[in-house]
């Protein structure tokens, strides 16, 4: 396709987005307003992430796109194809080979390096949104570092349920200043937010970009007597046997029997190739043969 500029967006727009990214990196966790463009995919389907990726990609980059940790979910396929067509960059499913990774709802299991960029798709960038629907109010609350409402919410969770009843999009505090929404990743992924790679967050519909520079301090909100706990299903992966990866639960038959598999498909396939096998991998191999 020659009708569109490299990676679809015109250079002026990319410059505007890059400025927002740089501002975001300079003020970690702060939501920078940007003039989000109408993209050829719907709002809510990753337009923020796509714009950030488009402004980040160079022709030498290798791009990986995941949704729910998997490279082959429909929307990941669609976004990867978009960049194959509009940017002509090399794409990969291998986490270590990628220089830019666009993700929805997961952080890859493999530890990322300082020459990699992780781009998140963000639906609602405002961590305080469900406590206060008005943007005019929440911006003021951030400016004044007025986060009492959030702590009250977490406290009410504990008094009602005996635990903090947030399992994904678990709020974090960045460098002791801004409370930030890490996008709807499971809280299992929260400890990984302190990493060597650059992390960029794009919310297209809500017109916000924010960022975490490498090695930024990111604390999940909690209380001394109710410390944050990264949880996952209490199983090992039935395919690769991994005990420390985030698992999807798959319903197997009409009786509702379940199996658990890694949500990170590249991680799981890599382990299986290296000879790690889970409880049901042998059964699968027999079935396949």
């Amino acid at each position: 396709m020659t009708d569109y500029n490299f990676a679809y967006l015109d250079e002026q727009t990319k410059r505007m987005i890059r400025r927002a990214i740089l501002k975001g990196l300079a003020i970690p966790g702060y939501q920078v307003p940007f003039a989000s463009r109408e993209m050829p995919m719907p709002y809510g389907w990753g337009t923020g992430g796509v714009q950030v990726s488009a402004a980040t990609l160079t022709p030498d980059d290798t791009l990986k796109v995941i949704d729910q940790g998997a490279d082959d979910t429909t929307n990941a396929v669609s976004i990867r194809k978009f960049f194959e067509v509009t940017a002509g960059v090399t794409t990969t499913e291998n986490t270590t080979e990628a220089s830019v990774i666009q993700t929805r709802h997961r952080i890859p299991e493999a530890e990322l390096r300082d020459d990699q960029i992780l781009v998140y798709q963000v639906p609602i960038p405002e961590p305080l949104r469900f406590l206060e629907p008005r943007e005019t109010e929440t911006r003021k609350m951030h400016a004044l570092e007025e986060y009492g409402l959030m702590h009250v919410k977490l406290y009410e969770d504990i008094s009602q349920h005996g635990a903090i009843a947030t399992s994904y999009a678990y709020p974090v505090k960045v460098e002791g200043r801004y409370v930030m929404d890490p996008s709807p990743i499971p809280k299992f992924d929260n400890p990984k937010l302190e990493m060597s790679a650059i992390q960029l967050f794009g919310a297209g519909r809500e017109q916000r970009i924010y960022a975490l520079p490498p090695y930024t301090k990111v604390e999940s909100l909690d209380f001394e007597d109710y410390p944050f706990e990264a949880t996952k299903a209490d199983h090992a992966c039935d395919m690769c046997g991994a005990e420390n990866s985030y698992l999807d639960e798959v319903i197997m038959d009409d009786q509702g029997s379940r199996m658990f598999v890694c949500s990170d498909t590249d991680f799981c396939a890599g382990r299986q190739q290296a000879g790690h096998l889970g409880a049901l991998a042998a059964v699968n191999a027999e079935d396949a043969a």
Partner: protein
């Protein structure tokens, strides 16, 4: 046996092929042409241009064809195309008093200079299905139409203004902000609100306007004037140093007259609401005018009754149907990971509850 879901790409390609087939429908029926849509479904074309924020009837007709008549999808196609277009500059403000009016009515005065012109309106049609249309293939007989006046048609509101009976709009030289180039900042201003409402969803804006009529921030509107017609569009060309006409477009403009009690500093006078929309879109233009008026409560020193239509942030954040439909429909995308974390949390909370209150559990 579990097989990791592969083949998303092939599924997508096949879905697209099927969609194309469904769009075409029965191939023994003649295919719709862009010209047919443009000429015979012109109000749909107008809506797509208005909410797509791009004045191009042919592209709007193409979008309607491609979207199988789903107008929000068509608007989306136009918006996505529009963002890729380069900006050469901005036009001079259009002079709607110079509009060649096909339609121009006032509900507040029986007659006024320029007259009442009904134009091509559904207003007084009886909504009876015309079965002749189902059979008829003969070309329609030419209607008797008057040529639009050549001379300018004054705005009816200006007659009230000379008496000081209606609040004067203060001219503003500032370049209005461009919603499509700068992020929306709240609180906004009237220019941005009108821009946002002009491309807002017709149904949403209509519902908001209707709510003001039913008492949620009632401001009792009369249609002071509604006019539809073509206006010339002029643009100043830097190299020339003066403005030249670059084309013309059909617009619908509505000005409402609303009650106002007056205050300690202001004698009682009427106030206005305003709506300006691409094409013949009068339901939309009237709706915009009513919502515009409701949103002006602060500027006019009225009280906030807590109604949705008075709430700028509520209205502007939710009137865009492309944003709304995108976010609404995104819940069709996979959410396995988040749902899994919720599953685990609910199981854990139930386990803990059962341990804490074993008797109750047994009693149930």
């Amino acid at each position: 046996m579990y097989v990791a879901v592969k083949g998303g790409e092939r599924a997508i390609d096949n879905a697209h092929a099927w969609l194309a087939e469904e769009r075409r429908g029965d191939t023994s029926i003649a295919e719709l042409s862009i010209e047919q849509i443009r000429e015979q479904l012109s109000l749909a074309v107008n809506r797509v241009m208005a909410e797509g924020s791009l004045y191009d009837p042919d592209l709007a007709a193409l979008a309607i064809k491609q979207s199988r008549g789903d107008l929000i999808e068509a608007i989306f196609l136009i918006r996505a195309y529009r963002t890729t277009l380069p900006r050469f500059g901005s036009s001079e403000p259009v002079k709607t008093e110079e509009m060649a009016c096909d339609r121009r009515i006032s509900a507040t005065f029986k007659d006024a200079p320029g007259g009442q012109v009904l134009g091509p309106t559904f207003d007084y049609t009886h909504r009876l299905l015309d079965f002749k249309l189902a059979a008829e293939s003969d070309p329609q007989a030419d209607a008797e139409t008057a040529k639009p006046r050549r001379e300018p048609t004054p705005h009816i509101m200006e007659f009230l203004n000379t008496e000081g009976l209606i609040q004067t709009e203060i001219a503003c030289e500032d370049t209005p902000p461009d919603l499509t180039r700068e992020p929306m900042e709240l609180p906004s201003n009237r220019a941005l609100r009108l821009q946002s409402l002009a491309r807002g969803d017709e149904g949403f804006v209509l519902g908001m306007a209707y709510s003001t009529q039913r008492g949620y921030a009632r401001n009792h509107a009369f249609v002071g004037e509604l006019r539809i017609g073509a206006v010339p569009v002029e643009m100043e060309i830097a190299e020339l140093g003066f403005a030249i006409e670059i084309g013309e477009m059909t617009l619908t403009e509505c000005e409402t007259v609303n009650q106002f009690q007056g205050s300690k500093t202001e004698p009682p006078q009427f106030t206005r609401g305003y709506g300006l929309v691409f094409g013949q879109s009068e339901r939309k233009a009237i709706s915009v005018a009513l919502v515009d008026r409701a949103l002006r409560w602060k500027e006019l020193g009225e009280s906030d009754s807590g109604a949705a239509a008075q709430d700028e942030e509520f209205v502007l954040s939710h009137c865009d149907n492309i944003q709304a439909t995108g976010f609404l429909e995104h819940i069709k995308l996979p959410h396995y990971v988040d749902f899994q974390s919720e599953l685990e949390l609910v199981r854990k909370l139930r386990r803990e509850a059962a341990e804490t209150y074993p008797m109750q559990e047994a009693a149930e």
